[in-house]
């Protein structure tokens, strides 16, 4: 993205400023309605299903969906689509596996966090505390990478310089998250989700127009590179299918989505969750699918020079092939994507410190609202300082977030809430396995001390091993399973 796009295109500046004004207005509105920890962490348990679905979509699709993802499609072809391919299934799967149980558990126990659910399921402070540690580690890395991405976009739009861009991104997101908590987060997510969907659909229209339809795009690409549009793209079948496995099953372990089920006003509205969430996801992923292919087709036909960096695919396409108002909408969408993900992580990170870790040690923090706000600020400062480190270090911190959530939370939370034979010992062992394997293997890989064979990812390996540990240890300790579930939790698991 070449410098100061907004200054060269006034329409981009206007759209971006309107976007920030809307976010600020929502933040002020939410701040006036946040009076308790319940408001701050679970939006007073008063949101509707449309808001829930769009907010969940917005926080699921981070800036990666608008910049990194299209770049990956541009670089590796069809294989990159295996990251989002499972979305047609995962929303219904999530509704059956998690949504109903989480919402009812929240109803029965007044729970506020994902580790709360794990603690209640196994009557275990250790399982709750370990899952909170896993969430905290992943959250800080995720926040740092998203701040870096936001800083890059703000710098490209306003020529602020990267460091100031990162600080500005943090200050804007923090201003509404620390004051309005998740209530501000959810309603800005709703707004940001709508912006992202509008941007994605509009850009896809221009993708088809610029490329001569899907036929034209495919013909242009396959004329010079047959494998790019093969079923696995430039990846091996094992690598592509491994992405499908990790991002499919791993979707059940994403706390920023699972946490939102507590917030739903009426659990019977969950009936429409898969339909709304799937439709929102499908529309918002059009940009991910289309832009990388369109840019590759333009390069194949010689209309555009090969991109210096794959991540330039989205900015190059919107600046080159869409009107500047659409470019403004997309840049707002990119910022929305980053901020909507970060605000969720700020909130669940603060909850892990303020709420989950003290409870793991049998203690309670006196004023969770005040401490929640304070820790939101501390976590944001920590993430911003990390985001100033060299890019490779920041990428290292962010790369394992999704996999760490998956390996630590899918067995204990998603499977455990649906299988009464799971035991506390199985849950603790699987969370510890996921945590140690993910951090250990990623660190060894970062320092080039060890690398996995082609087609095997740390996330995939950690997820499958933690699942097997969960099943194995639960089976060995199966005699204790029945005694570890409280009556009300058992009712939630049965209905």
């Amino acid at each position: 993205m070449s410098g100061a796009a907004a200054l060269r295109h006034p329409a981009i500046l206007v759209v971006a400023l309107l976007y920030f004004a809307a976010v600020a207005a929502i933040g002020v509105w939410a701040m006036r309605r946040t009076h308790s920890a319940r408001d701050f962490f679970v939006a007073g348990k008063g949101i509707g299903i449309v808001t829930l679905a769009i907010a969940a979509m917005a926080s699921t699709l981070s800036g990666f969906a608008f910049v990194g993802g299209p770049g990956l499609v541009y670089a590796t072809g069809t294989g990159a689509m295996f990251i989002i391919l499972s979305a047609a299934i995962t929303n219904t799967m999530g509704a059956w596996v998690l949504a109903r149980r989480m919402r009812l558990l929240g109803e029965a126990r007044g729970l506020m966090t994902v580790p709360d659910a794990i603690g209640a399921r196994y009557r275990s402070g250790l399982a709750q505390g370990l899952s909170a540690v896993a969430i905290l580690v992943a959250v800080i890395g995720y926040m740092a990478t998203n701040f870096l991405a936001l800083g890059l976009v703000i710098d490209a739009m306003f020529a602020t310089g990267l460091s100031l861009g990162i600080w500005l991104a943090m200050l804007v997101t923090l201003s509404y998250t620390a004051t309005g908590g998740i209530l501000a987060g959810v309603y800005t997510d709703l707004f940001e989700g709508l912006v992202k969907t509008a941007a994605s659909v509009t850009v896809f229209y221009f993708v088809l127009r610029a490329g001569g339809g899907m036929d034209g795009i495919s013909r242009a690409i396959t004329a010079v590179d047959a494998t790019f549009l093969g079923p696995w793209g430039k990846m091996s079948a094992l690598s592509a299918l491994s992405l499908f496995f990790v991002f499919g099953l791993g979707s059940l372990g994403q706390p920023h989505v699972a946490h939102k089920f507590y917030m739903l006003r009426d659990p019977k509205q969950l009936k429409w969750y898969p339909l709304l969430m799937s439709a929102a996801m499908a529309l918002t992923q059009l940009l991910y699918v289309g832009v990388g292919l369109a840019m590759r087709a333009k390069v194949a036909t010689g209309e555009v020079a090969p991109l210096a960096r794959a991540d330039d695919a989205t900015p190059a396409f919107v600046l080159g092939f869409t009107p500047s108002a659409v470019a403004g909408l997309v840049f707002a969408g990119v910022i929305a994507a980053g901020m909507s993900t970060v605000n969720s992580f700020m909130n669940i990170g603060a909850a892990a410190i303020t709420h989950d870790l003290p409870r793991a040690f049998g203690r309670r923090v006196g004023d969770e609202l005040r401490w929640g706000r304070a820790w939101t600020v501390v976590l944001s400062l920590a993430a911003v300082l990390l985001a100033q480190l060299p890019g490779a270090v920041v990428a290292f911190l962010g790369i394992f977030g999704y996999g760490l959530f998956a390996a630590t939370l899918v067995p204990s939370l998603a499977i455990g809430l649906n299988w009464s034979g799971a035991t506390r010992e199985g849950a603790v062992a699987s969370i510890a396995t996921g945590l140690v394997l993910t951090l250990g293997l990623e660190t060894l890989a970062y320092f080039k001390l060890f690398s996995l064979p082609a087609g095997v990812t740390v996330s995939g390996l950690a997820l499958v091993v933690s699942l097997l540990v969960f099943f194995g240890v639960s089976w060995i300790t199966r005699a204790r399973a029945a005694g570890q579930i409280d009556t009300d939790v058992r009712v939630v698991m049965e209905v």
């Binding site: 069809t78 795009i217 047959a226 496995f245 499919g248 009936k271 799937s278 095997v456 390996l461």
Partner: protein, 148 residues
């Protein structure tokens, strides 16, 4: 259908994925069957996990069984077809809805077809098979008893 079957299938699918990863550690690289293992294993994991979640009071209703089996067939069938069919993605490739045939089978089959029936099956069967007022009342009663 009894709840035990989804669990058994889930563990079996997990072992299939683990076998695919283990095979990749061989000095001469992953054999061709490793991709088949992960194709069937990942489809099996999503379907059986969904079935586990759809189970109520130890039983899985027929409509959920059909949805889960169909999902497995669509996912594993699409991946299996792409693995089994010979590559034909050259300049004169036959296109299906704008994509080369094998790619179209995978992207439209896995990425769109489940979208056409899963959310609808969930919504249509919700009141009878997923959550109704009696269930919510039962949970509230259990919570009240615990507090008391």
């Amino acid at each position: 259908m009894r709840a035990r079957l989804p669990l058994v299938l889930l563990v079996a699918s997990c072992l299939a994925v683990a076998a695919a990863y283990a095979a990749a550690f061989r000095p001469d690289g992953a054999p061709s069957w490793a991709a088949w293992c992960i194709a069937l294993g990942s489809g099996g994991m999503l379907s059986s996990t969904m079935a586990l979640g759809a189970t109520r009071r130890g039983r899985l209703r027929p409509v959920a069984v059909i949805a889960c089996v169909l999902t497995f067939l669509v996912v594993s069938g699409a991946f299996g077809a792409a693995l089994w069919m010979p590559p034909a993605e050259g300049a004169d490739a036959r296109l299906l809805l704008g994509l080369p045939l094998r790619t179209a089978i995978v992207l439209y089959g896995v990425g769109i077809v489940p979208l056409l029936f899963l959310p609808l099956v969930y919504a249509v069967s919700f009141d009878a098979d997923t959550l109704n007022d009696d269930d919510i009342e039962r949970v509230r009663r259990a919570a009240a008893e615990r507090k008391a």
